[in-house]
Protein backbone atom coordinates (compact mmCIF):
# COMPACT_ATOMS: atom_id res chain seq x y z
CA UNK A 1 0.00 0.00 0.00
CA UNK A 2 2.77 2.47 0.92
CA UNK A 3 4.51 1.77 -2.36
CA UNK A 4 1.31 2.39 -4.30
CA UNK A 5 0.79 5.69 -2.48
CA UNK A 6 4.34 6.78 -3.23
CA UNK A 7 4.01 5.75 -6.85
CA UNK A 8 0.74 7.66 -7.28
CA UNK A 9 2.38 10.71 -5.74
CA UNK A 10 5.34 10.34 -8.09
CA UNK A 11 2.98 10.37 -11.08
CA UNK A 12 0.96 13.28 -9.70
CA UNK A 13 4.03 15.36 -8.81
CA UNK A 14 5.60 14.78 -12.21
CA UNK A 15 2.62 16.06 -14.20
CA UNK A 16 1.98 18.90 -11.73
CA UNK A 17 5.52 20.26 -11.87
CA UNK A 18 5.66 20.02 -15.66
CA UNK A 19 2.30 21.79 -15.81
CA UNK A 20 3.58 24.51 -13.48
CA UNK A 21 6.60 25.05 -15.76
CA UNK A 22 4.54 25.08 -18.95
CA UNK A 23 2.09 27.50 -17.38
CA UNK A 24 4.90 30.06 -17.21
CA UNK A 25 4.35 30.40 -20.98
CA UNK A 26 0.78 31.58 -20.45
CA UNK A 27 0.50 34.90 -22.34
CA UNK A 28 4.17 34.58 -23.42
CA UNK A 29 3.83 32.01 -26.24
CA UNK A 30 5.49 32.81 -29.58
CA UNK A 31 2.10 33.21 -31.28
CA UNK A 32 -1.46 33.08 -30.00
CA UNK A 33 -2.26 29.56 -31.29
CA UNK A 34 0.83 28.12 -29.64
CA UNK A 35 0.21 30.01 -26.43
CA UNK A 36 -3.19 28.30 -26.37
CA UNK A 37 -1.66 24.94 -27.28
CA UNK A 38 0.89 24.91 -24.45
CA UNK A 39 -1.68 26.06 -21.91
CA UNK A 40 -4.14 23.40 -23.10
CA UNK A 41 -1.43 20.80 -22.57
CA UNK A 42 -0.89 22.31 -19.13
CA UNK A 43 -4.56 21.90 -18.35
CA UNK A 44 -4.46 18.24 -19.39
CA UNK A 45 -1.44 17.67 -17.16
CA UNK A 46 -3.11 19.35 -14.18
CA UNK A 47 -6.19 17.20 -14.73
CA UNK A 48 -4.05 14.08 -14.76
CA UNK A 49 -2.32 15.25 -11.57
CA UNK A 50 -5.63 15.80 -9.84
CA UNK A 51 -6.70 12.25 -10.66
CA UNK A 52 -3.45 10.81 -9.26
CA UNK A 53 -3.55 13.04 -6.14
CA UNK A 54 -7.18 12.12 -5.47
CA UNK A 55 -6.27 8.47 -5.71
CA UNK A 56 -3.28 8.91 -3.41
CA UNK A 57 -5.47 10.79 -0.92
CA UNK A 58 -8.04 7.99 -0.93
CA UNK A 59 -5.33 5.41 -0.27
CA UNK A 60 -3.73 7.49 2.49
CA UNK A 61 -7.06 7.99 4.22
CA UNK A 62 -7.76 4.25 4.06
CA UNK A 63 -4.37 3.27 5.43
CA UNK A 64 -3.72 2.62 9.11
CA UNK A 65 -1.52 5.66 9.55
CA UNK A 66 -4.36 7.97 8.66
CA UNK A 67 -4.24 11.12 10.76
CA UNK A 68 -7.04 13.25 12.13
CA UNK A 69 -6.87 15.65 9.20
CA UNK A 70 -7.67 13.60 6.08
CA UNK A 71 -5.45 14.01 3.04
CA UNK A 72 -6.93 15.78 0.01
CA UNK A 73 -5.61 16.56 -3.46
CA UNK A 74 -4.95 20.09 -2.21
CA UNK A 75 -3.07 19.10 0.93
CA UNK A 76 -0.87 16.79 -1.12
CA UNK A 77 -0.04 19.45 -3.69
CA UNK A 78 0.23 22.45 -1.39
CA UNK A 79 1.61 21.17 1.88
CA UNK A 80 4.37 18.71 1.00
CA UNK A 81 7.99 19.76 1.09
CA UNK A 82 10.65 19.56 -1.59
CA UNK A 83 12.07 16.29 -0.25
CA UNK A 84 8.59 14.76 -0.26
CA UNK A 85 8.04 15.60 -3.92
CA UNK A 86 8.88 12.67 -6.19
CA UNK A 87 8.68 14.28 -9.63
CA UNK A 88 11.14 13.52 -12.42
CA UNK A 89 14.04 15.99 -12.46
CA UNK A 90 13.46 16.91 -16.11
CA UNK A 91 10.08 18.47 -15.25
CA UNK A 92 11.55 20.98 -12.80
CA UNK A 93 14.29 22.37 -15.07
CA UNK A 94 13.75 25.96 -16.20
CA UNK A 95 11.85 26.39 -19.46
CA UNK A 96 14.70 28.07 -21.34
CA UNK A 97 13.66 29.06 -24.84
CA UNK A 98 10.77 27.64 -26.91
CA UNK A 99 13.05 24.94 -28.38
CA UNK A 100 14.00 23.74 -24.91
CA UNK A 101 10.36 23.73 -23.75
CA UNK A 102 9.25 21.82 -26.85
CA UNK A 103 12.01 19.26 -26.60
CA UNK A 104 11.24 18.55 -22.94
CA UNK A 105 7.55 18.09 -23.73
CA UNK A 106 8.48 15.78 -26.61
CA UNK A 107 10.85 13.63 -24.52
CA UNK A 108 8.30 13.45 -21.71
CA UNK A 109 5.18 12.84 -23.80
CA UNK A 110 6.76 9.99 -25.80
CA UNK A 111 7.84 8.42 -22.51
CA UNK A 112 4.44 9.03 -20.90
CA UNK A 113 2.61 7.46 -23.85
CA UNK A 114 4.56 4.21 -23.41
CA UNK A 115 4.12 4.25 -19.65
CA UNK A 116 0.37 4.85 -19.81
CA UNK A 117 0.02 1.92 -22.19
CA UNK A 118 1.66 -0.23 -19.52
CA UNK A 119 -0.46 1.22 -16.70
CA UNK A 120 -3.57 0.27 -18.63
CA UNK A 121 -2.40 -3.32 -18.57
CA UNK A 122 -1.49 -3.24 -14.87
CA UNK A 123 -3.34 -4.87 -12.00
CA UNK A 124 -4.43 -1.68 -10.28
CA UNK A 125 -7.86 -0.75 -11.63
CA UNK A 126 -7.78 2.93 -10.70
CA UNK A 127 -4.32 3.56 -12.18
CA UNK A 128 -5.50 1.75 -15.31
CA UNK A 129 -8.61 3.93 -15.50
CA UNK A 130 -6.63 7.15 -15.11
CA UNK A 131 -4.18 5.92 -17.77
CA UNK A 132 -7.01 5.06 -20.15
CA UNK A 133 -8.31 8.61 -19.78
CA UNK A 134 -4.90 10.30 -19.99
CA UNK A 135 -3.48 8.49 -22.98
CA UNK A 136 -5.95 10.11 -25.34
CA UNK A 137 -4.63 13.50 -24.26
CA UNK A 138 -1.00 12.39 -24.39
CA UNK A 139 -1.53 11.29 -28.00
CA UNK A 140 -2.15 14.93 -28.91
CA UNK A 141 0.85 16.08 -26.89
CA UNK A 142 3.14 13.67 -28.73
CA UNK A 143 1.83 14.75 -32.10
CA UNK A 144 2.09 18.45 -31.34
CA UNK A 145 5.57 18.32 -29.83
CA UNK A 146 6.91 16.01 -32.59
CA UNK A 147 5.77 18.44 -35.24
CA UNK A 148 7.56 21.27 -33.46
CA UNK A 149 10.78 19.26 -33.05
CA UNK A 150 10.74 18.65 -36.81
CA UNK A 151 9.86 22.24 -37.64
CA UNK A 152 12.64 23.68 -35.49
CA UNK A 153 15.26 21.02 -36.16
CA UNK A 154 14.76 21.15 -39.91
CA UNK A 155 14.11 24.90 -39.88
CA UNK A 156 16.56 27.78 -39.98
CA UNK A 157 20.19 27.72 -38.92
CA UNK A 158 19.14 29.53 -35.74
CA UNK A 159 16.28 27.17 -34.84
CA UNK A 160 18.46 24.13 -35.61
CA UNK A 161 21.19 25.42 -33.30
CA UNK A 162 18.64 26.07 -30.56
CA UNK A 163 17.45 22.48 -30.80
CA UNK A 164 21.03 21.26 -30.49
CA UNK A 165 21.47 23.41 -27.39
CA UNK A 166 18.23 22.01 -25.96
CA UNK A 167 19.37 18.42 -26.55
CA UNK A 168 22.60 19.30 -24.76
CA UNK A 169 20.66 20.73 -21.79
CA UNK A 170 18.14 17.93 -21.44
CA UNK A 171 19.66 14.67 -22.59
CA UNK A 172 21.20 13.58 -19.28
CA UNK A 173 17.79 14.00 -17.63
CA UNK A 174 16.08 11.45 -19.89
CA UNK A 175 17.67 8.38 -18.29
CA UNK A 176 15.59 8.80 -15.14
CA UNK A 177 12.44 7.78 -17.05
CA UNK A 178 13.74 4.23 -17.28
CA UNK A 179 15.63 3.73 -14.00
CA UNK A 180 12.86 2.44 -11.75
CA UNK A 181 12.71 3.39 -8.09
CA UNK A 182 11.99 0.62 -5.57
CA UNK A 183 8.31 1.57 -5.39
CA UNK A 184 7.96 1.44 -9.18
CA UNK A 185 9.30 -2.09 -9.39
CA UNK A 186 6.90 -3.02 -6.64
CA UNK A 187 3.81 -1.47 -8.24
CA UNK A 188 4.69 -2.35 -11.83
CA UNK A 189 6.09 -5.89 -11.72
CA UNK A 190 4.84 -6.45 -15.29
CA UNK A 191 6.77 -3.54 -16.81
CA UNK A 192 10.04 -4.13 -18.63
CA UNK A 193 11.79 -0.76 -18.33
CA UNK A 194 14.48 -1.72 -20.85
CA UNK A 195 11.82 -2.48 -23.45
CA UNK A 196 10.11 0.82 -22.61
CA UNK A 197 13.44 2.57 -23.15
CA UNK A 198 14.08 0.89 -26.53
CA UNK A 199 10.63 1.86 -27.79
CA UNK A 200 11.20 5.45 -26.58
CA UNK A 201 14.60 5.66 -28.24
CA UNK A 202 13.19 4.32 -31.46
CA UNK A 203 10.54 7.04 -31.58
CA UNK A 204 13.06 9.76 -30.64
CA UNK A 205 15.42 8.53 -33.38
CA UNK A 206 12.63 8.51 -35.97
CA UNK A 207 11.61 12.11 -35.24
CA UNK A 208 15.20 13.34 -34.84
CA UNK A 209 16.09 11.87 -38.22
CA UNK A 210 13.25 13.76 -39.82
CA UNK A 211 14.34 16.86 -37.92
CA UNK A 212 17.97 16.47 -39.09
CA UNK A 213 19.11 16.14 -35.47
CA UNK A 214 21.44 13.52 -34.00
CA UNK A 215 20.65 11.34 -31.01
CA UNK A 216 23.48 11.72 -28.47
CA UNK A 217 25.50 8.66 -27.49
CA UNK A 218 24.78 6.84 -24.23
CA UNK A 219 26.13 8.90 -21.34
CA UNK A 220 25.95 9.51 -17.61
CA UNK A 221 22.32 10.06 -16.54
CA UNK A 222 21.01 12.21 -13.67
CA UNK A 223 18.75 10.59 -11.11
CA UNK A 224 17.25 11.56 -7.77
CA UNK A 225 13.84 13.11 -8.41
CA UNK A 226 12.01 9.83 -7.84
CA UNK A 227 13.44 9.62 -4.33
CA UNK A 228 13.11 13.30 -3.46
CA UNK A 229 16.63 14.49 -4.28
CA UNK A 230 16.07 17.49 -6.49
CA UNK A 231 17.91 20.20 -8.37
CA UNK A 232 17.99 23.66 -6.80
CA UNK A 233 15.06 24.65 -9.04
CA UNK A 234 12.27 22.73 -7.32
CA UNK A 235 12.39 24.80 -4.13
CA UNK A 236 11.66 27.96 -6.11
CA UNK A 237 8.78 26.33 -7.97
CA UNK A 238 7.19 25.12 -4.73
CA UNK A 239 7.66 28.52 -3.09
CA UNK A 240 5.63 30.00 -5.90
CA UNK A 241 3.08 27.16 -6.10
CA UNK A 242 2.51 26.90 -2.34
CA UNK A 243 2.86 30.55 -1.35
CA UNK A 244 -0.82 31.23 -0.85
CA UNK A 245 -1.60 28.14 1.22
CA UNK A 246 1.45 28.73 3.39
CA UNK A 247 0.68 32.37 3.96
CA UNK A 248 -3.05 31.90 4.51
CA UNK A 249 -3.48 28.27 5.63
CA UNK A 250 -6.78 26.78 4.52
CA UNK A 251 -7.64 29.71 2.26
CA UNK A 252 -10.44 28.96 -0.18
CA UNK A 253 -12.28 30.89 -2.85
Amino acid sequence: MDQLITYSLHLADTTLILAQRNAEWCAHGPILEQDIAITNITLDLIGQSRNFYQYAATLINQSAEAVAEPATEDSLAYLRTEREYKNLLITELPNGDWANTILRQFFFSVFQFGLLEQLQKGSDAQLAAIAEKSIKETTYHVKWSSEWVIRLGDGTEESHQRMINAIHNLWTYTGEFFIPAVYEKDVLPHVDFDALKSAWLEKITEIFTEATLSVPPASFMQTGGKTGHHTEHLGFILTDLQHLQKTYPGAEW
Binding site: N40, D44, A129, E132, Y140
Partner: protein, 161 residues
Protein backbone atom coordinates in the same frame (compact mmCIF):
# COMPACT_ATOMS: atom_id res chain seq x y z
CA UNK B 1 -37.42 2.67 -17.65
CA UNK B 2 -39.20 3.47 -14.41
CA UNK B 3 -41.07 6.81 -14.55
CA UNK B 4 -38.94 8.58 -11.94
CA UNK B 5 -35.77 7.66 -13.81
CA UNK B 6 -37.34 9.09 -16.93
CA UNK B 7 -38.10 12.31 -15.06
CA UNK B 8 -34.52 12.67 -13.86
CA UNK B 9 -33.10 12.10 -17.32
CA UNK B 10 -35.38 14.76 -18.74
CA UNK B 11 -34.28 17.17 -15.98
CA UNK B 12 -30.68 16.45 -16.92
CA UNK B 13 -31.57 17.54 -20.47
CA UNK B 14 -31.93 21.02 -18.98
CA UNK B 15 -28.36 21.03 -17.65
CA UNK B 16 -26.11 22.53 -20.31
CA UNK B 17 -22.41 22.31 -21.03
CA UNK B 18 -21.22 25.72 -19.72
CA UNK B 19 -18.65 25.96 -22.52
CA UNK B 20 -21.03 25.01 -25.35
CA UNK B 21 -24.43 26.06 -23.98
CA UNK B 22 -26.47 24.56 -26.83
CA UNK B 23 -25.48 21.06 -25.70
CA UNK B 24 -27.17 19.33 -22.82
CA UNK B 25 -25.06 16.97 -20.75
CA UNK B 26 -26.87 13.87 -22.12
CA UNK B 27 -26.19 15.25 -25.65
CA UNK B 28 -22.53 15.46 -24.75
CA UNK B 29 -22.59 11.85 -23.59
CA UNK B 30 -21.08 12.46 -20.18
CA UNK B 31 -23.95 11.12 -18.06
CA UNK B 32 -23.09 7.46 -17.61
CA UNK B 33 -25.86 6.37 -15.31
CA UNK B 34 -28.60 7.56 -12.99
CA UNK B 35 -29.40 5.47 -9.94
CA UNK B 36 -32.25 5.81 -7.53
CA UNK B 37 -31.89 4.48 -4.01
CA UNK B 38 -34.51 4.86 -1.28
CA UNK B 39 -34.14 8.57 -0.81
CA UNK B 40 -30.93 9.18 -2.75
CA UNK B 41 -30.39 10.10 -6.39
CA UNK B 42 -26.97 9.32 -7.78
CA UNK B 43 -25.84 10.80 -11.09
CA UNK B 44 -22.65 9.32 -12.48
CA UNK B 45 -20.75 11.49 -14.92
CA UNK B 46 -17.44 11.12 -16.74
CA UNK B 47 -15.12 13.98 -17.70
CA UNK B 48 -14.48 14.84 -21.34
CA UNK B 49 -10.83 15.66 -20.61
CA UNK B 50 -8.90 15.07 -17.37
CA UNK B 51 -8.49 18.80 -16.83
CA UNK B 52 -11.90 19.90 -18.05
CA UNK B 53 -12.65 22.95 -15.87
CA UNK B 54 -16.36 22.65 -16.61
CA UNK B 55 -16.79 19.45 -14.57
CA UNK B 56 -17.06 21.15 -11.18
CA UNK B 57 -19.61 23.56 -12.57
CA UNK B 58 -21.58 20.80 -14.27
CA UNK B 59 -21.84 18.80 -11.07
CA UNK B 60 -23.02 21.90 -9.23
CA UNK B 61 -25.60 22.57 -11.96
CA UNK B 62 -26.90 19.00 -11.70
CA UNK B 63 -27.28 19.41 -7.97
CA UNK B 64 -29.07 22.75 -8.32
CA UNK B 65 -31.40 21.44 -10.98
CA UNK B 66 -32.46 18.47 -8.86
CA UNK B 67 -32.74 20.57 -5.66
CA UNK B 68 -34.97 22.99 -7.54
CA UNK B 69 -37.31 20.06 -8.28
CA UNK B 70 -37.51 19.06 -4.64
CA UNK B 71 -34.91 16.30 -4.53
CA UNK B 72 -32.86 16.68 -1.39
CA UNK B 73 -30.37 13.87 -1.23
CA UNK B 74 -28.20 14.02 -4.35
CA UNK B 75 -24.86 12.51 -5.10
CA UNK B 76 -22.82 13.32 -8.21
CA UNK B 77 -20.02 10.81 -8.75
CA UNK B 78 -17.23 10.61 -11.27
CA UNK B 79 -16.28 7.60 -13.29
CA UNK B 80 -13.12 7.58 -15.43
CA UNK B 81 -13.37 4.22 -17.16
CA UNK B 82 -14.46 3.58 -19.84
CA UNK B 83 -13.01 6.88 -20.98
CA UNK B 84 -15.38 9.36 -22.61
CA UNK B 85 -15.42 9.39 -26.37
CA UNK B 86 -17.15 11.68 -28.86
CA UNK B 87 -18.93 8.52 -30.08
CA UNK B 88 -21.19 9.01 -27.08
CA UNK B 89 -22.39 12.36 -28.31
CA UNK B 90 -25.97 12.04 -29.55
CA UNK B 91 -26.99 12.71 -33.16
CA UNK B 92 -29.18 15.56 -32.02
CA UNK B 93 -26.18 16.96 -30.11
CA UNK B 94 -24.10 16.87 -33.28
CA UNK B 95 -26.84 18.68 -35.17
CA UNK B 96 -27.07 21.37 -32.49
CA UNK B 97 -23.31 21.90 -32.64
CA UNK B 98 -23.44 22.29 -36.41
CA UNK B 99 -26.21 24.89 -36.14
CA UNK B 100 -24.24 26.70 -33.46
CA UNK B 101 -21.29 27.06 -35.88
CA UNK B 102 -19.04 24.36 -34.43
CA UNK B 103 -18.13 21.47 -36.74
CA UNK B 104 -19.23 18.28 -34.95
CA UNK B 105 -16.88 15.32 -34.54
CA UNK B 106 -16.81 13.62 -37.92
CA UNK B 107 -15.27 10.26 -37.32
CA UNK B 108 -16.96 7.18 -35.96
CA UNK B 109 -13.86 5.62 -34.54
CA UNK B 110 -11.51 6.84 -31.83
CA UNK B 111 -8.00 7.15 -33.07
CA UNK B 112 -5.09 6.37 -30.87
CA UNK B 113 -2.48 6.11 -33.58
CA UNK B 114 0.11 8.80 -33.98
CA UNK B 115 0.68 10.78 -37.17
CA UNK B 116 -2.54 10.02 -38.93
CA UNK B 117 -3.34 12.12 -41.96
CA UNK B 118 -5.13 15.29 -40.97
CA UNK B 119 -8.85 14.78 -41.27
CA UNK B 120 -11.03 16.52 -43.80
CA UNK B 121 -13.37 18.70 -41.79
CA UNK B 122 -16.50 20.27 -43.25
CA UNK B 123 -17.05 24.00 -42.73
CA UNK B 124 -20.20 24.45 -40.59
CA UNK B 125 -21.12 27.64 -42.48
CA UNK B 126 -20.77 26.80 -46.17
CA UNK B 127 -20.28 23.00 -46.06
CA UNK B 128 -17.01 23.26 -47.99
CA UNK B 129 -14.50 20.50 -47.35
CA UNK B 130 -11.74 22.87 -48.42
CA UNK B 131 -10.59 23.70 -44.88
CA UNK B 132 -7.31 23.74 -43.03
CA UNK B 133 -6.20 23.12 -39.49
CA UNK B 134 -4.89 26.25 -37.76
CA UNK B 135 -4.26 24.65 -34.38
CA UNK B 136 -4.96 21.30 -32.77
CA UNK B 137 -5.75 23.21 -29.60
CA UNK B 138 -8.65 25.63 -29.68
CA UNK B 139 -10.62 27.79 -27.28
CA UNK B 140 -11.32 24.82 -24.98
CA UNK B 141 -9.65 21.44 -24.54
CA UNK B 142 -12.27 19.67 -26.65
CA UNK B 143 -11.96 21.88 -29.72
CA UNK B 144 -9.47 22.49 -32.54
CA UNK B 145 -9.28 25.64 -34.65
CA UNK B 146 -9.86 25.43 -38.42
CA UNK B 147 -10.28 27.90 -41.22
CA UNK B 148 -12.47 27.53 -44.30
CA UNK B 149 -10.55 28.23 -47.51
CA UNK B 150 -13.75 29.07 -49.39
CA UNK B 151 -15.77 31.35 -47.10
CA UNK B 152 -12.56 32.30 -45.22
CA UNK B 153 -14.24 32.03 -41.81
CA UNK B 154 -12.30 30.46 -38.96
CA UNK B 155 -14.36 27.94 -37.00
CA UNK B 156 -14.11 25.54 -34.08
CA UNK B 157 -14.11 21.82 -34.63
CA UNK B 158 -15.25 19.56 -31.80
CA UNK B 159 -12.39 17.03 -31.93
CA UNK B 160 -12.89 13.31 -32.14
CA UNK B 161 -11.62 11.89 -28.94
Amino acid sequence: MIPELQTIWSLLEEVKDPEVPVLSIPDLGIVREVKIYDDLIEVIITPTYSGCPAMDMISMDIRLKLLEQGYKNIRVSYQLSPAWTTDWMTESGKKKLQEYGIAPPQEKRVRKMLFDEDEEIICPRCQSSHTKLLSQFGSTACKALYQCQDCKEPFDYFKCH
